[in-house]
C-alpha cells in the first residue's frame, strides 16, 4: 500500500501543508492519517543524510515537504511526507500506511536509532492538561479511549493501594470523567488518548509523539497540541544550554569543563531507590553512586547503553543537574528526563542554566 498522493504543489511551510491536508485529506485517502513527530539537534542536511544511510530516498519534493520512501524489507515499502521545521528543529512524518507494519517497522525505529534525534515526548501531565483544555473549550468534546498508567516511584496520590504499578485501558464516551476518577482513585495518568469533538475533530495522541487524525482539521489538532510542542521545546532548550569546554589549567594541561542543565523537581531520599531501579531497568548503568541522607545529596556517573554514552548527575532536594561528558546527545537527555518524570516527579521541569562562557 502506497502513501496517499499529493498533487504537484509547492508548500512554503508546515502550516501550509497542514491547511492543505485539512481541506483535502478526505479526498486523498480513506485511511487515518498518522503524524510521527520528533525533535533533533541535527541540521536538516545531517538528518536527511542519516535517513539516506538507512535506505530512505527522496522521491519528490513539494517545496519544504519531501515525499520519501524506503524498501525496508523484501515485500514492504514504507513511504511518508517529511516536513523538517528548521526554526524549531522539529520534524514530522505524515503517512496513511499501517501503524503495525510500515510505521512501527520502518518509521518509528528512525526515532530510536539516529543519534541526535528523539521522539516528541509529551508528558502524561501535559496530555491530561491538553485534554482538560479541549474539554473546557468545546462543550461537546469527549475522551473516547485512554490508556493510563501508574509507574513505580510516582508521587501522584492514589486512594487505592498507592504502591501498586498499574495500567488501565478504557473505552467509552465518558472517558474524561472516568480519567479524572481513575486518576484520583488509582493515581494513574494518560499515556494514550483519543479525543472526539463531533463534527470537528477526532484524533488520537500518545506520549511518544505519534498522532492519528481520524477525521477533521489537522490545523485545529496542531493548535491543541501547541502546549505539548512548547513543553518539548523547553526540554530541548535546557539540553541546548549544556556544553563541554576545554579549559587550560597550565601549559599542556587541559581539562574538560561541563555546564549542566537543571531538572527542577521535588526529590526525597526515598525516591532514590526507585530511581536507581528504573534507570537500571532502562539500560543505564550507575557508576560511582553516592547518596547522602539529610537534605538529600545524590551524585553518579551514568552510562547509557542505548546510546553508548556517559553523563554525570548531581542532585539535591530541588533539582537534578545533568552534566554532559565528552559527547552530548539529545536522545539521552530526553530519555533521562522522561524517566525522572515517570519515576520521581511528574511535575519535573527542565531549566537552562545559561552560565557565561569561559571566554566571555
Amino acid at each position: 500500500m502506497e502513501v496517499f498522493e499529493v498533487p504537484p504543489d509547492e508548500f512554503e511551510d508546515g502550516p501550509e501543508f497542514n491547511r492543505y491536508l485539512s481541506r483535502n485529506y478526505s479526498a486523498l485517502s480513506g485511511d487515518d492519517l498518522y503524524i510521527i513527530s520528533g525533535v533533533t539537534e541535527l541540521t536538516q542536511a545531517e538528518f536527511e543524510e542519516q535517513l539516506e544511510e538507512r535506505g530512505w530516498k527522496t522521491d519528490r519534493e513539494y517545496g519544504v515537504i519531501k515525499k520519501i520512501g524506503s524498501q525496508y524489507s523484501q515485500d514492504h515499502r514504507a513511504e511518508a511526507y517529511l516536513h523538517f521545521d528548521q526554526d524549531e528543529q522539529l520534524f514530522f512524518f505524515y503517512t496513511d500506511q499501517r501503524k503495525t507494519e510500515e510505521i512501527n517497522d520502518a518509521v518509528v525505529p528512525l526515532l530510536r536509532t539516529i543519534r541526535g534525534v528523539h521522539y516528541l515526548y509529551i508528558s502524561p501531565r501535559i496530555l491530561k492538561e491538553v485534554t482538560e483544555q479541549i474539554a473546557e473549550q468545546n462543550e461537546s468534546a469527549k475522551v473516547t479511549e485512554f490508556i493510563a498508567k501508574r509507574t513505580e516511584g510516582t508521587e501522584i496520590p492514589a486512594l487505592e493501594r498507592p504502591d501498586e504499578e498499574r495500567t488501565i485501558n478504557y473505552y467509552g464516551d465518558d472517558g474524561l470523567r472516568t480519567l479524572r476518577e481513575v486518576e484520583q482513585k488509582y493515581g494513574v495518568l494518560p499515556h494514550i488518548l483519543e479525543i472526539d469533538i463531533p463534527g470537528e475533530l477526532n484524533f488520537r495522541i500518545d506520549k511518544e509523539g505519534v498522532f492519528k487524525l481520524k477525521s477533521g482539521s489537522l490545523s485545529l489538532m496542531f493548535e491543541y497540541l501547541d502546549e505539548c510542542i512548547t513543553q518539548c521545546l523547553d526540554i530541548k532548550e535546557a539540553y541546548d544550554s549544556t556544553r563541554v569546554e576545554d579549559i587550560e589549567i597550565a601549559e599542556d594541561n587541559v581539562v574538560s569543563q561541563s555546564t549542566p542543565a537543571r531538572i527542577e523537581l521535588n526529590l526525597e531520599f526515598d525516591d532514590l531507590g526507585p530511581l536507581k531501579t528504573s534507570l537500571q531497568d532502562n539500560d543505564y548503568a550507575l557508576i560511582d553512586t553516592n547518596a547522602e541522607r539529610g537534605s538529600v545529596y545524590f551524585s553518579s556517573k551514568i552510562y547509557d547503553q542505548e546510546n553508548n554514552l556517559f553523563f554525570n548527575i548531581r542532585a539535591d532536594k530541588n533539582a537534578i543537574r545533568v552534566f554532559p561528558k565528552e559527547e552530548r546527545d539529545i536522545g539521552t537527555f530526553f530519555r533521562f528526563f522522561e524517566i525522572i518524570q515517570s519515576t520521581v516527579d511528574e511535575h519535573a521541569e527542565p531549566e537552562s542554566i545559561n552560565y557565561p562562557l569561559a571566554s566571555s
Partner: protein, 382 residues
C-alpha cells in the same frame, strides 16, 4: 601511600618470599578462621565501606573546589583566586595537600587540605604544618610548577571539612595557635555537606571569632557569604589517583567495554595500554603518565589476584597494540551486563581479599620470627 598499595605490598612480599609449605598452611588456616569469624568479617566490611566513603567524600570536595576556582568557576570569576594544581606537593616527596589555589596579583597561595572523614583535626593540622615547611623549602620548584611566584610569608592553609566538623576543627586550630609563638595562618572551609555543594568560611571560633578568621579582600567577602556551586560548570574526572579500587573498577569496566562497542573484539577485552591511556587522560597533569602506569600496575595486580581479570594468551590477543591484553571474566556481552556481572560480587571479593591479607600478615610474622628477619615491608617495596 594508599591502603590498597600497602595491602598489595603484603601480597607481593608474601607471594615472592613466604608462600610455601608450612607458611601457606598457616595462611590458609588463618584465612579460614577469619572467614568463619563474624566479627572479623564485619570489621573487614566496615573497613572496606569506610575507605570507599572516604574516597567519595574526597572526590566530592575536590570537584566542588575545582568547580569554584577553575577558570570560569563561580568564585574565580569574582576574585583573583584561581585553581593551580591538584596534589601540588606530590612531586616534592612531601605528603601532599589536595588542592592549591593562587592569587597572581599579590603572590599568595592557599593550600587546601581535605580533612579525612576519620582523621582528628589536630592530626590534620600537624600534617599541614609539615607540608608548609616543605612548601617553603621548595618555593622555587613549586613556583615554576604552578606558574606563580608566591612569597613565603603569603601562604595560607584551609582545612576543608564537612559542616558538622567545623567546631572541632576551629578548637584544634586555637589549641595549635596557643601552643606556638609564630603559628601558621589556618582557615576553616566548610565544603559540600548534605546540603549539596556549598563553600563558606567558618569564623565562629570558640575563643577568638571574627574578621581575622576570614580571608582578606574579595575572597573573604565571597566565602563569608558562602557560594553554592552545584549549578556552575564542573570538571568531573572519573577518579583521582587515590580513589578506592572498587570505584576505579566501576569506571574502568564500563569505559573499557564501551570502547569496543563498534568493534569485532569482545567487549570484555582490553589492553594494558588502553587502561593506561584512560588513567592518564583522567588524572591529567605533569606526572599523569607515571601515575597512570603505577595505578594500572596496582589495579591489574589486585584484579588478577581476586580473579576478576585474566591475562590473554598472545594467540588470542585481538587488540594487538604491543601491550599485554586482558579480559574481564564475564560471559556477558554488552557493556551494562558486563558491568553488572563484574560488579555484582566485587564487594564480597574485596572483603575476602582484606581477610586474606590479614592471614598473609600472620604467615609473614611467623616467617620473620623463624628466619630472624628484621626488615619491614617498606624495605621490600623499595
Amino acid at each position: 601511600m594508599s591502603s590498597a598499595e600497602t595491602e598489595l605490598e603484603v601480597l607481593e612480599y608474601y607471594l615472592s618470599e613466604v608462600d610455601n609449605g608450612n607458611y601457606r598452611n598457616i595462611k590458609e588456616e588463618k584465612f579460614e578462621n577469619l572467614t568463619d569469624n563474624e566479627d572479623a568479617v564485619e570489621a573487614a566490611e566496615e573497613r572496606y565501606e569506610n575507605r570507599r566513603d572516604e574516597a567519595q567524600h574526597k572526590k566530592k570536595v575536590r570537584t566542588t573546589l575545582m568547580a569554584a576556582f577553575l577558570r570560569n568557576g563561580l568564585i574565580e570569576r569574582v576574585t583573583n583566586w584561581e585553581f593551580k594544581k591538584l596534589f601540588p606537593l606530590r612531586t616534592l616527596d612531601i605528603d601532599s595537600a589536595d588542592v592549591l589555589i593562587g592569587n597572581q596579583t599579590d603572590g599568595s597561595i592557599i593550600l587546601i587540605i581535605i580533612l579525612p572523614l576519620r582523621q582528628r583535626p589536630n592530626t590534620g593540622i600537624e600534617d599541614a604544618v609539615e607540608m608548609l615547611e616543605g612548601v617553603r623549602d621548595n618555593n622555587s620548584t613549586l613556583s615554576d610548577d604552578i606558574g606563580l611566584d608566591f612569597r613565603n610569608d603569603r601562604i595560607q592553609t584551609a582545612i576543608a571539612i564537612g559542616p558538622a566538623r567545623a567546631n572541632d576543627t576551629a578548637t584544634a586550630i586555637e589549641q595549635y595557635e596557643q601552643s606556638n609563638t609564630n603559628p601558621e595562618e589556618f582557615y576553616v572551609w566548610r565544603i559540600a555537606g548534605t546540603q549539596g555543594e556549598k563553600i563558606d568560611v567558618f569564623t565562629d571560633f570558640p575563643g577568638n571569632s571574627g574578621s581575622d578568621r576570614q580571608h582578606d579582600g574579595n575572597l573573604g567577602q565571597v566565602l563569608d557569604e558562602g557560594r553554592e556551586v552545584m549549578d556552575s560548570p564542573h570538571v568531573l574526572p572519573d577518579f583521582f589517583y587515590d580513589t578506592h579500587h572498587s570505584l576505579l573498577l566501576e569506571h574502568t569496566v564500563t569505559k573499557m567495554a564501551s570502547n569496543r562497542n563498534e568493534s569485532e573484539i569482545p567487549n570484555t577485552h582490553f589492553s594494558r595500554q588502553e587502561l593506561q591511556d584512560y588513567f592518564q587522560e583522567t588524572l591529567h597533569g605533569s606526572d599523569s603518565n607515571h601515575k597512570a602506569t603505577q595505578l594500572a600496575d596496582r589495579v591489574l595486580r589486585l584484579w588478577e589476584h581476586i580473579d576478576l581479570v585474566t591475562e590473554m594468551k598472545s594467540s588470542n590477543d585481538q587488540i594487538e597494540d604491543g601491550s599485554t591484553s586482558y579480559r574481564f571474566k564475564s560471559r556477558k556481552q554488552n557493556t551494562k551486563s558486563i558491568y553488572d556481572d563484574i560488579a555484582e560480587d566485587y564487594d564480597q571479593r574485596s572483603v575476602e581479599f582484606l581477610l586474606e591479607i590479614e592471614a598473609m600478615e600472620k604467615a609473614i610474622d611467623q616467617f620473620r620470627e623463624d628466619k630472624g628477619i628484621q626488615a619491614d615491608l617498606a624495605a621490600f617495596s623499595t
